[in-house]
Subunit: 166 residues, 2 copies
Amino acid sequence: FKMIKAALSVLLVLVAMSSAKYIPKSGKRIPQTLSRGWGDQLIWAQTYEEALYWARSRNKPLMVLFHLEDCPHSLELRKVFSEDNGIQRMLDEEFIVLNLMYETTDKHLSPDGQYVPRIIFVDPTMTVRADIVGRYSNRMYAYEPLDIKLFKSNMEKAKKLLKSEL
Amino acid sequence: FKMIKAALSVLLVLVAMSSAKYIPKSGKRIPQTLSRGWGDQLIWAQTYEEALYWARSRNKPLMVLFHLEDCPHSLELRKVFSEDNGIQRMLDEEFIVLNLMYETTDKHLSPDGQYVPRIIFVDPTMTVRADIVGRYSNRMYAYEPLDIKLFKSNMEKAKKLLKSEL
């Protein structure tokens, strides 16, 4: 009886070992999220191709946000952006959203150069709305925390869709 | 005294309300992860551009995995793939990893068409390793759960880097 019990314990340990999940040598990691702190409740597209597909098929404007996690300007904007429930609700209900830390190969997404933070709207007709700009003439698609009201009025502009030429 | 207490309660409620986070009408969502169940402990690239940058700068081979969350073949493969600690460790330590549900614009990533599941290796010289194939002649980059041993030997092939021509 004792033998069976011992055998069972060994078996249990073996089963537990074989089903143990992989853990990196450097320790367990927190799974990465697509939101990266810009709105945990939003449904973020992963890639520009995916975002364009969603924008077209749902006939919603797309917001593409370029940022970096070690850029203080990005982080300051992220704080007000993610905590503004008006922005979050409008993005969730009326926009397709994508945040990127690496540039795409599509040059239309950098009308006046590559910098962060930079926010570009794209119409569901796949036209980049280069006309929707912020306050700074040298970085036309940059926003600072104080520009949040301007950003909201730009969202309203983006919601007025261009007529499809199809 | 009672008045002050009442005023304080009102203030507290107001503070709590103003700092309440945005919650969608359909209810709170679980933040999306980049792993999508293919290895929660791996550091996944978000886009192909990002993945290529990492592959080049760290001189590691890149694995690009195309899948769909409503494809039973993808889900079957995901189960054995995510639970195989050998694969997970090797990917974590020696590869750059990317999983995609939408095709990129780069046709080199679909040498024999677009289907899922499909796994393509890319050398850090940015050469797509079209020579590293699975068992099926009509879908050369597909793997089934039973092909996991073949997949591991293909990972070994991908680790033997091509000589850079630079």
